[in-house]
Symmetry: C2
Subunit: 237 residues, 2 copies
């Protein structure tokens, strides 16, 4: 199996997409999309997000020591792209996209009401790593859209139609490959659980998404300057 | 849009899957699968992986200050699951799965030859966060399978058929939704680039994967004890 050596780079994937909200100048809510984002601890639940110092949201997040990570589903993918390539210094992204800044439950940074699931975070530590500062935060509250709960009140995140980021592009998820432990599951357990997983995945696809951000449908473009080339080149990081 | 509040939890996704390799007891190569994993910096390229102190790989990674993150494609998904639920203390995972521990280019920890892309990492810092220790590392080299390069020698990671982890389950990626900047692209640019992206995605699907780990096909189970329930419950973190 021949392999080729590449120069070191940020070639991990697929990566989660987060529309990270904070309060900017004059308390105006802003959104920056990040993929340099991950879970880093289970008890207590913690995540980290890395943001370039030059980005508009950076000083506001740093000063408030709070932010919300709003997950991105397929209808929100185009809005997430917009919030990654445009700067909050130039435009009001909530207004441009027709998104709703709803109050969060534990932090002042707003929740995007249209997002399937939002993680409210309080910063514990900031590490300066070079191009990016890493915000290490505790997840202090989670809210999710009502329709993601089944009749038994269980959260079905598989139904959310979440989008991922890989090497400059956005993707939905396909049909489930397996569940944790499937490599060692007894055949009858495997069949039963895969059946549940796959039928749930189909149901999730059929359920029409309740909302679409303005940019989520069609090719309508907001009136605004072309995106900063450098930001595009830098990716979601 | 009604939302429901949940108790704080690690509900970010989709997450990348990494088969993290190191040298264990007597220099024996081992694999642990992790999803508490993410890019944290661009220049220099850095990633972090969080591993529970109790896991077999933890002290070996900590002592050697090196590891390799091997990305997981669809044929490797079942092997990745196996390496997440089994412990290197009980079994030789490379042997069980028929995977190849190839030399890496810059670190002593091995590369899984069957993995589409491998990130060789050197630890810069370790943070104790609670349940997990976060290994903060620089990506010092990257290798990828020869067939992921196109005629112009460009890496086509979209062709790799990578798998993601979400809330206890594994998924492939679907058809591309867009490219970075698509929300603000001119219509002719949008059409041209989406055409290239989608035809590439189809080609990637048609190209039969060169290798399959032993567990990757069918339901054959290795001879071994049932997985540790607690590890299963804890997820990939």
């Amino acid at each position: 199996m021949r392999r080729r050596k590449l120069k070191p780079g940020t070639l991990l994937g697929p990566l989660p997409l987060g529309m990270v909200t904070c309060l900017g100048q004059d308390g105006r809510p802003n959104i920056i999309t990040a993929a340099w984002l991950g879970i880093i601890n289970s008890e207590p639940p913690m995540l980290s997000v890395s943001i370039r110092k030059q980005r508009y949201s950076h000083p506001w997040i740093k000063a408030s020591r709070e932010f919300v990570v709003n997950l991105v589903d397929e209808p929100l993918a185009k809005a997430a792209d917009y919030c990654g390539v445009k700067s909050g210094a130039d435009t009001n992204k909530f207004g441009d996209l027709g998104l709703t800044a709803a109050p969060s439950s534990m932090v002042k940074a707003p929740t995007i009401a249209e997002s399937p699931l939002s993680l409210e975070c309080r910063i514990k530590r900031i590490l300066e790593l070079g191009s990016h500062d890493m915000f290490i935060a505790e997840i202090v509250a989670v809210t999710a859209r009502e329709e993601l709960f089944d009749k038994k009140d269980r959260l079905c995140l598989a139904d959310a139609g979440l989008a991922a980021y890989l090497h400059g592009n956005y993707y939905p998820l396909g049909e489930p490959l397996g569940f944790m432990g499937y490599s060692v599951a007894a055949p009858h357990v495997y069949r039963r659980r895969m059946h549940v997983l796959k039928s749930r995945a189909r149901k999730g696809k059929e359920a029409a998404p309740a909302v679409r951000a303005k940019l989520g449908t069609g090719q309508k473009k907001p009136k605004s300057r072309p995106p900063d080339r450098k930001q595009q080149k830098n990716g979601m990081g």
